[in-house]
Point group: C2
Chain length 312, copies 2
Amino acid sequence: MTLEALLVAARAGDARATARLVTIVENDEPEAAALVRATYREAGRALVVGITGPPGGGKSTLVAALVGRYRERHSRVAVIAVDPSSPFTGGAILGDRIRMRERFLDPGVFIRSLATRGATGGLSHATARVVDLLDALGHEVVLVETVGVGQEEIEVMRVAGTVCLVSVPGLGDDIQAVKAGIIEIADVLIVNKADRPGADQTVADLRAMQSLAAPRVGSWSPPIVRTTATAGDGVADVVDAVARHAAWSRASGDDTRRRREAARSAVETLLRELLTRRFIDAAGHQGRLDDAVAAVADRSSDPQTAVLDLLR
Amino acid sequence: MTLEALLVAARAGDARATARLVTIVENDEPEAAALVRATYREAGRALVVGITGPPGGGKSTLVAALVGRYRERHSRVAVIAVDPSSPFTGGAILGDRIRMRERFLDPGVFIRSLATRGATGGLSHATARVVDLLDALGHEVVLVETVGVGQEEIEVMRVAGTVCLVSVPGLGDDIQAVKAGIIEIADVLIVNKADRPGADQTVADLRAMQSLAAPRVGSWSPPIVRTTATAGDGVADVVDAVARHAAWSRASGDDTRRRREAARSAVETLLRELLTRRFIDAAGHQGRLDDAVAAVADRSSDPQTAVLDLLR
């Protein structure tokens, strides 16, 4: 099938065509640039919601519940589960979670795991491109789920218009430490498994962390929402909180600021890659690069000296 | 103090001078390039051990116990705790862990948290530069601890000659999923808190994951070591397993392969940054870059088209 034909089918809601197009972008296949050019300008309409937090927080159950809610009002919803990937095999794990599978039976829901790291700019840029693609293809809501709370998850969350951080009662100190980094980018704080003992303490901990975090850009104060996703409790409150944040973001111009940052990151990443590819492809540069690497590896030179020599 | 004077003091074991030099490299201060040039060629001698694994595994306790063991045979040991950082405030958290503080009283142990993200190439390159610096300054053993098991932790672990993955009994499914990615780079598998119920199951799970992981480069088969770090049990076995791996690595040439990969990554990262900086600094390019970003942000262009225009 040609790219054109795939686009027609995917816009009409064909899941296999959509999956094929996502793969093209994810793996940076030869048609990827043409595909991005054909769809990029149509994106920017979807509600893009990020869901992040430490492992064990019940995020997949919450995402499944949110998908159900959004499907009541929207005809097409997409879920991207961004996996910590294997550097060698690039295996995707989250996609076949059982609760997700239930949603797979609904043709209005497109679900995909992303794990490939080969794409220019790493996983966060691959995610941004897939979100834009699904948006352009007509998904009105795109949920982006990550497991983990490291810097990469923070980068991935930058694609979202609204970021939800999911905590649960009773996690250890390590996890509390980890959350301090991500709390500054969270727009909605969720305490899931709120029927467990310790939920009040978790809410108090989150408030304390909020007060310690760097002041936010703009006037939004992230609400704390309690959920018990397995029973569906509080899920409507999350939908409401996300909608209020999105409305605030449009009214305050914060969404424009986010879009500009995302655009800067995409442009600079691509510029960096293309400049480097052009330099290396120039006559003789590949051999000189290999020599520089060998000199740095055996410590007869250092990286700075070797690269300045290369550029001379 | 001049760079020269700081180097003399740091080589003699002065902790404040060492800390100052680490800060210069970490923050990419103006003297950083000169400092790397002055020390890079002397590095490559230390035993560099990575300790990673999901939060809640008792890694800090294990690292403290390992430091004690290594100090029995080595005069200078360094610990670098690589933190998931705040994208805005860059706060470091792990450094003031209580058990670490005990070790702080030992002048033969240098401990530092790394969290800054401003450095060229991100946290993994900052970590590599700090490891090289501490190595060149005379630390015979450098332990690098990360919290988390995402792609960034995997990148950080590439600085280590031997990577230890710490698991614990009784963590949830999410964490098992996360480990699948990192297990392929682990040279020694540790089941900490091995006195807890479920330790046998964790060992069995690790063996199952090993059999599923991509085949390793070379003939090393990662051993599984049980520890109860709080009681000191098994810590000597970890030291032995690391020593055996390091000996295998030297004998098989695997360490040469690792060094070459690290050198390639350092050279390519720096090349990418310098080429981009030169391009942007050229007359008129900053303004054109800003225009390209604005066009991409309002979706009147796409990143690929905008960057190709820039390069024309």
